[in-house]
Symmetry: C2
Subunit: 327 residues, 2 copies
């Protein structure tokens, strides 16, 4: 079968593509071809035993989306999105890419007749309630930002296209992914990676929230494992509700600083300083940090590793590439 990854040039897209190249199959089905798609040209993963098509375009353009899915497509992992702070700054672009793009991709899936498994990356940002809230799958999404509203609307598309049998969809509500490699980006949650990444590069990082602030996070390794699990799990086990809160890790900024000190030492910790950013605080302040994950665990999503393991995995997996990127 063909596997398609949108947002294939992004860091999660590259990790998933790399893992699939190594695995060569998804569940019991051999991967015979892969399509990577993004606004910037994706690179094929190293060591793939199958052909990899690398395409660029606008996911909301039906002609571009039509090239991503054919009758042999078994799995579509839809990561392409405008991130939170950018979607907040550019209302039209956010709705265009995050809602219209998802719908156009689903229309391409429907037209293909392949009924592929579509793994949609939804987000913690679909929820609000902030530090006090405890979230489960029955909780209404009342998003505090446009990105969350767009992802919640995307989930309803996944839901209805699945119910009609046009696709076999799963919406995975990803926590804030920490540590993201590379540079700070325009996600409002960018600081959460910066404080555990920049000090290991000898760079300063800024903290826009107090140390008591709690976040719901996932490592790149856990997020990759969950996306691959979501690509293979039995759709019938989901029933009508296609949305899943994976078993993320609830941590405070203080927890993160303690692990930074224990892994990177005092010098690393001193590179982080508190700088108020009301705009970022307003966005991330609405995101809940506490989730019930019984459904995800019952569906076989693996438990999250601890925070120190998460930091050591960053050093092992991504520090060298991040350093090279910075020149």
């Amino acid at each position: 079968m063909r596997v398609t990854i949108t947002g294939g040039a992004g860091f999660l897209g590259r990790k998933v593509a790399g893992r699939l190249a190594t695995m060569g199959k998804l569940g019991k089905r051999d991967i015979t071809a892969m399509t990577l798609f993004d606004v910037a040209e994706p690179k094929p993963p190293a060591g793939a035993a199958f052909p990899v098509a690398c395409l660029t375009g606008d996911i909301a353009d039906p002609a571009d989306a039509a090239r991503l899915v054919d009758a042999g497509t078994g799995v579509v992992i839809h990561l392409a999105a405008v991130v939170s702070a950018q979607a907040e700054a550019d209302f039209d672009l956010g709705w265009h890419v995050n809602l219209d793009g998802t719908r156009t991709l689903l229309e391409a899936c429907r037209a293909s007749g392949a009924k592929p498994r579509v793994v949609f990356t939804s987000s913690v940002a679909t929820f609000s309630g902030g530090q006090e809230a405890v979230i489960d799958e029955a909780t209404r999404p009342v998003p505090g930002n446009s990105y969350g509203a767009q992802k919640a609307a995307g989930e309803l598309l996944i839901h209805d296209y699945s119910r009609k049998g046009y696709i076999d969809g799963v919406s995975l509500r990803l926590p804030t992914v920490v540590v993201r490699p590379g540079r700070p980006n325009r996600a409002a949650s960018s600081f959460a990676s910066s404080i555990l990444r920049e000090p290991f590069l000898g760079e300063e990082a800024f903290l826009p929230v107090p140390e008591s602030f709690a976040l719901w996070i996932a490592s790149p390794r856990a997020a990759t494992d969950w996306l691959i699990h979501a690509a293979t799990l039995d759709g019938k086990a989901l029933g009508l509700d296609r949305g899943i809160n994976p078993p993320g890790l609830t941590v405070t900024v203080r927890d993160m600083m303690e692990v930074l000190q224990s892994v990177g030492g005092h010098a690393a910790m001193r590179l982080v300083s508190r700088v108020e950013d009301k705009e970022v605080e307003a966005i991330v302040g609405t995101w809940p940090a506490r989730f019930r994950d019984a459904r995800a665990k019952a569906l076989g999503f693996r438990a999250h590793e601890g925070l120190e393991a998460l930091v050591r995995a960053f050093l092992e997996d991504d520090l060298a590439e991040t350093k090279a990127l910075r020149g």
Copy 2:
């Protein structure tokens, strides 16, 4: 101010327009003009002291939507929709009218700069869980049909456009409206009106669900009152969450049959017969019947009258017109 009603040729649109013509104002603001819009040409309400423009078109066409809102528009009551059974039968039309149409209307509101109060008619159909469920505003919409998915997605638009300050929106999740005047329509819930309407016309009605089946309903009078209240209530009192479950009435089919007998006598009751309809049962079977309405009551939405008052109001308000329509 100008008041715009989409779906102005429909029965709720006509009732709201008629009431506003009588009132002449909404809250403290005089109504100086009204625009009615629908696919079929709406008729101006009797006795309006202000000019009424009656327009037809496609709500999802930006040029048509642009004619509905201007800088003087204070309130938009958005009733235009493809109903449940039709949206289930025609997937593309449902998403086109119910989602794209809502978005196009909101874009027209945004472009006008008027920041109008937009009253969006969402629905019980956004929920599932069926006979066992108890719903409040924090309950996730997991719709069992496309109509519900489209309305839930529309609510997210209302939510995000309101949060950004482009409109001041309220989403009112209407129960099944009973007794609808006129003819049976393509709503899956059409039977709920038929069993309390057809016998008073000497016509047979068919019951696709058992007598123990419970529904969450509202009379045309209550729905009209709530829509008008939603058009005037203080948006600041709503906060981030713009969705409201109004104080509908939970009744079983048996309750309805008993009231039919007490108002219409035995002859009326004998005109109703049980005829299985698996397609209708599949749609309405997912709709919950039990709601918590504390929020709506705190916001001043009036309590619902009893079931017998509802039936007598149909005879008083709508029976003559319904008879005339049947010729």
